[in-house]
Amino acid sequence: MSITIALAGNPNCGKTTLFNELTGSKQHVGNWPGVTVDKKDGVYKKNREVTILDLPGIYSLSPYSAEEIVARDYLVKDKPDAVIDIVDGTSIERNLYLSLQIMETGIPMVIALNMMDEVETKGDKIDCQKLSETLGVPVVPVVARSGKGLKDLMDTAIETAQSHKKPEKLNLFDQDLQNAIAGIADVLGGNNEDESQWKAIKLIENDVVVEKAVDPAKLAAIKILVEKANKNARGDAEAKIADTRYQYISQLVKECVKKAHRGHVETKSDKLDKILTSRILALPIFAVVMYIMFACTFSENFLFIEGLPSPGVWLAGIVETMWGMIAEGVVGVIEGLGASEWAVGLVASCLDGIGAVAGFLPLVLVLFLLLSFLEDSGYMARVAFVMDRIFRHFGLSGRSFIPMLMGFGCSVPALMASRTLESDKDRKITMMITPFMSCGAKLPIYAMFAATLFAEGNQTMIVFSVYMLGIIVAVIGALILNKFAFKSDASSFIMELPQYRVPTIKSVLIHAWEKVKGFAVKAGTVIFASTVLIWFLSNFNFSGMCDMEESFLATIGNGIKWIFAPLGWADWRASVGVVTGWIAKENIVATFGQLFGNVSEEVVEAVMAGEEGLPAIGQVFDQVSAYSYMAFNLLCMPCFAAVGAIKREMGSWKWTLRAVGFQMVTAYVVALLINVIGHLIF
């Protein structure tokens, strides 16, 4: 008989470590529908009949965050055969608060009391037997990091699931509340007592999500009962419920936990934190950490040594070279077999498509090895703590800094880094604005225009100003999105600062691997398909294969160029450049090289590096329209690889299209303003 066991628990309680230990590498990572929250499941290593589902880390079953809604919807609606509730033994009071709420759902449950090694190091003792007897739920002590107690835990969980043994009802609440709960559950009806009782408690807690799902005909009667409960609880039954739970826990902990020291004891972690978030050192340390992360992933002069590639760049170079050789070999073979020109072209473009995906994998890998380390060690929470003061003004979290900074290297890993943000709203907004950070591939476009149309003394300033433009538009974009697109979301900064811990190599590796695999599979198809499509459009017309000048793409360029007239560049070649730029932004230079005078590859390379201009583009662009064109390509839809990353992270086409739509509109408006205002001034 196959059974499903869900893992639930607070963030930082060791849930993911436990999940990794139980499932090994047999994991499947996806998104919960509509939100940017990971959905992970896997098969239990020692019994393939058992599926383990890792619910997102949550503090409560309130509808406060996307994580909480996803987790409780799963528990209440999908009903796993059993829940393993992971309780961090080092902060047992707060962890048990969630346990009490999970017990209310009536799902068979086992508590895994984790971090028992740290509890022992502190000298504290927890009486598991007593805890289990009082709560009426099996309690198994474990150390997830070392795998200690896991066999016992799983045996207990499987047995609990198979015997359908529900947790005992605790009846913590006083008579008034109990009457109210019973009364509301009665009005709700339904054939599942646990579910209607759970809903009744949530309704007293003013849970808007549950309230919306209630039959409107019953709502009036329920409102009266909730009102009565409030009156009995001196106006605030919601507070009374939370308070009752915590009082019960305080008493329970007093009975079951023997603390070696009274009050707050300074740990090693606290001492480390004093340095890492100290008034003087916090910002310099943060800057150094960020620099190391950026340099390891993107730097071409690593450790300030001229020409030494960083691990990320080095690996990307190897992958690119190897793939180039393979592609060349394959193309050579089919050419030798006498394949027609279009077949060779198709194969070459398919190989390019795969190569485009593969080239990003090393960057994603290196960045996520570092990010997982920061996340698991507990430093990431401090990043938010330190940077919050600045970022809250834009309606973002301090952690948005990381994706935005990485965006200057490459949008693909940067977008994937948005997953480190705390809230669904912040993740989505950050993903929408991260491509505004000018990535490395956009620089050749600026170099081309600067070298061709601007005086030597102004070139650096022009390029720099485009970078600044991206940052300014990102900030304004974030403010606008916050105000109009996501206004209903409550935002606050009540966040746990977990103890610092040395991450396990296994978790860091698994996390980085997940990201690489997720990008290759989920984003790969988007990138591959669009690369081949653009290749087809730019090499064919109705009579077969042709030059780009006569291709479908040229026809499309001619057809759409009027759209760009207000931006100052109603030219089919400029339009075609925008489209080929979606494969990779630096392609715009090669496209222009071909369409404006068919220059050699050497010239294109010199133009990309800003060493030479491309005078022919002067036929179409003046300084103002060139700036408008740069701004448009900076801000419009990023390359397909980045769109693939957005799709992977958003988990829905709807949100991907919204993001791309937002970027397109922003690009158009900004380029329009530049063209109109620019021509008024100059």
Binding site: E93, A239, Q247, T277, F385, V386, D388, F493, I494, M495
Partner: protein
């Protein structure tokens, strides 16, 4: 007096939570309920948010949120 008025190192006991709606829910879910002891650990380098110790763990919250928590 509110939690905002405490300096690093000072301790207090929560009297009530004045916040409303989801923020109140969150504050209480995180263990800040009447009667619980709170110690302020530090203030972030840029002056806000603050870090407190409550129920044996560290929590950060903004000053505007701390202002909603009455203590003695």
């Amino acid at each position: 007096m509110t939690l905002k008025d405490l300096r690093p190192g000072q301790e207090g006991t929560v009297l009530s939570v004045a916040a409303v709606g989801p923020m109140k829910r969150r504050i209480m879910d995180m263990g800040i309920t009447p009667g619980v002891g709170i110690k302020v650990i530090k203030v972030a380098p840029l002056g806000d948010p603050i870090e407190i110790n409550v129920r044996g763990y560290e929590l950060s919250l903004r000053k505007e949120e701390a202002q909603q928590i009455q203590i003695e």
